[in-house]
Structure formats: C-alpha cells, structure tokens
Subunit: 189 residues, 2 copies
DNA sequence: GTCTATACAGTGATAGAC
DNA sequence: GTCTATCACTGTATAGAC
C-alpha cells in the first residue's frame, strides 16, 4: 500500500473506517495512524474532516454503482438484471461484512448533514431508482406511469428494508427471502 | 416540568435529545443543561451515559408500542389494524418531525452496541413482526406457515423501507405510496 | 510536502463542600 | 441529594522546523 501517494492512502483508509466504524466514531488520529502519515499531511490535502466525509460518499457511490454495473453486465436487461440488483447486495453480505447501506448509515448518524453530503445520498437513491425503472420498462414496455413509479418505489423499499433487517439480524436471510418475494412479484408482470 | 423529579427530567430530556440529534452528538453537558440539573446529580441516578442509552431504548420501545396499541385500539383486527400500523407511522411523520425509526438509527450509529441495547432493538423488531403476523392470521385463518413468515417479513421491509425513504427525502410521500401498495397486496388475500 | 509539537475546546466522569 | 470545581482524556485543527 506504500506505493500509493499519501492522499490515496488517506482516502482509502478513511473510506474503510468510516464505513466500518461510522463517521463520528472514527477520529482523525486513527486515520493518520492506519494510513501511516502525519496529521499535518492530512490537513494539507483536506481542509477538514467534513471534506473527507464528502470524498468518502462520492467515492463509495461511484464504487457501488460501478460494482453493480459489472455484476449485472452479462445479464439480460429486464427481469434478470432486476434480480441481479438483489443478488449483488446478497453477494456483498456474504463475502464482506455488510454494515448496511453506507448512505443510509450516514443520513441516520448525522441528522444535520451538509449540502454536498445530502446530494450524494440523494444521488445514490436516484441511481437505484433509475436502475430499477429501466429494468421494469424492459419487462413491461407499456407500463402506466403511475404504476411504474409505484412499483419502483416498492422494490426500492424492499431492497433497502431487506438490507436493513439483514444488518440488524446479522443474517443474509432477510435478503434471500426478499429475493424470492421479488421474483414472485415480477413474475406476474 | 419542574414539578417532575430530577430523574424524570433527565430521562425525558435525554430521550428527546438522543432521538433528535443522535446519541453520540448529544453530550452529557447538554442533557444536564436542558434538564436543569447538575452533572453530579445525573451520575447519582445513572452510572454512565451508556446506562442512559439503555433507559432511552427501553422507554422509547414501550412508548412506541403503547402508542400503536392506542392508535389501533378501536380498529377491527385484521386488515384494518394492519393498515393502522402504517397510518400510525404516517401520523407521526405528519405531526412530529420524524427522524426515522429510533432503533434502526441506534443500530446504524453504534456498530458496537452493548448487549442490553441490542436486545431492545431486537425486541422492537419482534414486536412489529408479532403485530403484523397476528393481523395476517385474522385476515387469512389458514395461512401456510412459510407464506405467513414470508408475508410478514415483506410487510416489515416495506414498513421500515418506507420510513427510511420518508426520512431521507423529508417527505410523507413514500409512506403514503407504501400504504396504497400494502392495501392492494392484502386485498388479494 | 512531510514531520513534531502544540493549541484549545469539548468529552465523560469524580471529589468534596454544602 | 444537589451543587461547584476539577479531573484525565480525546477531539479537530495549526504553527513552525526540517
């Protein structure tokens, strides 16, 4: 990891710790220690801890989205890719130790979120909605607009709700069950 | 508020602040200031801030549950009470400034939650499940066991997912939409 | 650019007077 | 039981030497 520049080490360490421990529970001191750099060097690259938070959210969002696209790249648009969304998260829950959606965690941890961070949270949600909507339109080309939005929101709720329950119960079961339910739901379309 | 004992003032202030601002963001100093008592008095009644957290979760859980029971007291068991669960939260979102489910917030804010606090979170979830299951059994007396659990979990996911989206978007719309979807879902039972 | 050393506010928690 | 005063510690952020 030493061959990376200081800034890169700071970012990757901060992203890791912010997600694992939470933003507030992670101190600057821990970040610089694990990144192996001095405190002043951190403030050379980032004016404040909050700036680091914004960077964390941006990078995490892009990574999550990129991962989803790769995961579903070879799937057929429509039902298969829609199921892929759930399988993608299920895989994350099985391989890494899943701590819930990073953006929901931040929104819950910091009731007074700054403007840029809020924008990232919304962008993440909107990205999911768009992905879901696209697949739904492939499945049923002539979706009435109101029903499309309704179905999209319901699937999003199920997706986030299952992730949430899975984290709280420390189990992949809620997500597996939700996957089955979703499969049934879209089978009728 | 002055006629209440010191302990009661501490508890009600802490409950209020922990929910509004989060646990970590709320300092002992703010609690004692708003409660109008001295710091040493607080530690007379509670050995630590963490003890206050456990008290907060217990009281919030009992209050939430009590409120739900009162809200649905005059409704018919079954479909009406099940819809009442969603209407109850909808009402809370409209009247008070809803910050999401208190237990999910705590679970997300503190990845390393103590045993008693974890138990409260689980008890809350279990309480919701039991409530939902009871109504489902009234609706359809001969529910296959697997499907009953499946349906219960799905409704719980929708309930929590909608609360979550509602908080993030600062809108009651996700919960209203979810209510409609749930009404359709249980209409077919 | 990166380091050491430090500033300064804020935290949770205690001691001891009244 | 409740207060004032203070503890030891950690938090973020900066100054100044190399």
């Amino acid at each position: 990891m030493k061959e990376q520049g200081a800034k890169e080490r700071i970012i990757s360490t901060a992203c890791d710790l912010f997600y694992k421990q939470g933003y507030q529970a992670t101190g600057i001191n821990q970040i610089i220690e694990e990144a192996g750099i001095a405190k002043a060097s951190l403030y050379q690259h980032f004016p404040s801890k909050e700036a680091l938070l914004n960077e964390y959210l941006l990078i995490t969002r892009l990574n999550n989205y990129e991962h989803l696209l790769q995961f579903t790249a070879k799937m057929h648009p429509g039902k298969q890719k829609l199921m892929g969304l759930f399988e993608c998260r299920l895989e994350r829950m099985e391989t890494s130790n899943f701590k819930g959606c990073a953006f929901i965690r931040i929104a819950y941890e910091l009731p007074g979120l700054n403007q840029e961070a809020t924008a990232q949270v919304h962008a993440h949600t909107q990205g999911l909605k768009t992905f879901i909507e696209e697949q739904l339109l492939v499945i049923k080309h002539s979706f009435p607009k109101g029903e499309l939005r309704e179905m999209t929101d319901m699937l999003l709720n199920l997706y986030e709700g299952a992730g949430l329950q899975g984290y709280i119960q420390r189990s992949v079961k809620p997500m597996e069950d939700t996957k089955k339910v979703v499969r049934k739901l879209i089978a009728t379309l």
